[in-house]
């Protein structure tokens, strides 16, 4: 099981949060305000959660995602989007009833190159494709040295994770 990892970026009004690996924030109990902070970002138009590389997302991390969704309710035209491929992760999203608060995408993101060949879709779906594409571009640009306004959030989440790792190592 590889180490969980969290990245966040905010670009062109799209907030992207990417969770990879085995994400556990078990001992973290203070994420509500963080979710609120995300929702109050000036110029926020879309939220995209990328779980394509996540193998496991624990209940605290899922709770955080839910809180983000609750916090942006009524602020955005579209509900936040979650992209997930791993069947276990999709199953957890189902069990948690996330479909009510998120647009759940099961299909892997299409690479920009092959997007041109897609058949015409309705405006709504087209908008969705555009959003995903935009998020995808942001993710592509997202690097380890990505220093944006959400770095503190990522630091906090990562810190919670390492606290957890420490607590595991020391008892």
């Amino acid at each position: 099981m590889h180490e969980g990892r969290i990245q966040a970026a905010f670009d062109a009004g799209v907030f992207v949060l990417k969770l990879s690996g085995d994400v556990r924030l078990t001992l973290c109990a203070t994420l509500d305000q963080q979710a609120q902070r995300v929702a109050e970002s000036p110029g926020l138009v879309a939220v995209m959660i990328d779980l394509r590389e996540a193998t496991n997302v624990d209940s605290t991390a899922l709770g955080f995602l839910a809180k983000v969704a609750m916090a942006v309710q009524g602020r955005l035209e579209q509900p936040p989007t979650i992209v997930a491929e791993h069947p276990d992760v999709r199953r957890m999203l189902d069990v948690m009833g996330f479909s009510r608060y998120f647009t759940l995408l099961e299909a892997p993101l299409t690479e920009p190159a092959s997007l041109d060949e897609l058949p015409q879709v309705s405006a709504d779906e087209d908008g969705m494709q555009q959003r995903i594409l935009e998020a995808h571009r942001i993710l592509m640009r997202m690097s380890d040295h990505n220093r944006d306004e959400f770095q503190p959030l990522v630091d906090l989440l990562e810190e919670q994770k390492s606290d957890e790792d420490c607590s595991k190592a020391h008892h």
Partner: protein, 379 residues
């Protein structure tokens, strides 16, 4: 590094040779105090340069123990030189008068070494003290958590406990000291009993606090028990718990399975929130999965909790496990692990039997709880 005021003690018999040595050493950054006796050296001497002829053999060890000491001699064949080195002298130099520069460098280097050695010793001492204090604090915290666990255990029902011919057995293992898993089985009246099985998100103390709140709430619900509402009672409990958790704002949510057993009609009324894995119903060797789905409790406001029901045979066994069990089963995917669990349960007749077949390390990654309700034929 030695500074301009560093005082060097010079032990040698008085005379021209000693004077020459003193000026050799003192020509740089050192001040020199020349004497014939160890006792005449003041405490602030940083290092001693001693000539073999000025110190008795038996005094070398004492001298070396007190100061970093460089021994000098006119000839390498001096037997006393070996004695001195054996006694722990830091360095020696033969014909010092021809090697003034070397002598001064030796002195500077020895002082620096000595300083580092002392620093190391101080650091080790500090670390040892720090470590001891950490150990003490850790032991205190552990005791504190263990005391908390004693309290939490008192809030749980006896295991086993039998009500109206239905027996509950359970095994609850916290990942740390306190558990975010919780359960209860209580009598409502002569016909009904109520049970619930909860896994609060996260684990440890913060999740355990929620279980205390839950115990308090469930006792309150039971005081409001109305027989005619048996069917909707579980869903109402979940609705109320959902509201309490959201209003308290503790940022914790939970997966819950709550049920009311009708011992007269042999029927189970239940409601659930994000329960995973779903409860298994074992009748003879047949194991089936209870159906239903509901939102997690304490995460979303204004959600509806469903009401389900199922008829129970005269002999049944209901199995509830927290999701911690999934980490102790073989299989690469969730479905495989759920299948493995179902398969295992089919050949188990008790909580202990299921527990014994699991891969349990010294440390559990998550709280792990399993419970069975069996009946209706228990005395």
């Amino acid at each position: 590094m030695a500074n301009a005021r560093t005082l060097i003690g010079l032990l040698d018999t008085p005379g021209a040779s000693r004077d020459a040595l003193a000026s050799l050493i003192g020509s740089g950054q050192f001040a020199v105090l020349a004497t014939t006796s160890v006792d005449a050296l003041p405490d602030d001497v940083a290092l001693v340069v001693a000539h073999v002829r000025a110190v008795a053999r038996e005094d070398w060890a004492t001298l070396a123990a007190r100061w970093p000491t460089i021994v000098i001699s006119e000839t390498r064949l001096d037997g006393d030189l070996l004695q001195a080195v054996d006694a722990g002298l830091v360095d020696y130099l033969v014909e010092p008068e021809c090697h003034g520069d070397i002598l001064r460098r030796l002195i500077a280097r020895s002082i620096e070494h000595h300083r580092l050695t002392q620093e190391h010793a101080r650091d080790r001492q500090r670390l040892a003290e720090l470590n001891e204090s950490l150990e003490t604090h850790l032991a205190m915290l552990r005791l504190d958590q263990q005391a908390g666990w004693q309290i939490q255990r008192k809030l749980l029902p006896a295991s086993p406990i039998t009500l109206h011919g239905v027996r509950a057995d359970y095994w609850l293992a916290p990942s740390l000291y306190l558990s975010g898993d919780f359960l209860d089985f209580q009598r409502c009246d002569a016909r009904y009993s109520f049970f619930y099985f909860v896994d609060v998100s996260g684990h440890g103390a913060s999740s355990a606090f929620v279980t205390v709140l839950l115990k308090y709430l469930s006792n309150r619900w039971l005081t409001q028990w109305r027989q005619q509402a048996a069917e909707t009672f579980p869903a109402r409990c979940l609705t109320e718990l959902n509201r309490e958790l959201l209003e308290t704002g503790i940022g914790k949510h939970a997966t819950v399975f709550a049920g009311v057993l009708d011992h007269e009609q042999r029927y189970l009324h239940y409601s659930l929130g994000a329960q995973m894995p779903m409860p298994f119903l074992q009748v003879d060797r047949e194991v089936s999965v209870l159906e239903g789905e509901g939102p997690p409790v304490g995460l979303f406001p204004h959600v509806e909790f469903p009401t389900y029901g199922c008829t129970l045979p005269e002999r049944f066994r209901l199995w509830l496990c927290s999701d911690g069990i999934l980490e102790c089963l073989g299989g690469d995917t969730l479905d495989q692990r759920l299948e493995a669990l179902k398969h295992r349960i089919a050949s188990c007749a008790s909580v202990d039997a299921l527990k014994d077949g699991l891969v349990l390390g010294d440390e559990l990654p998550d709280d792990l709880t399993m419970m069975t309700l069996s009946g209706f034929d228990h005395a």
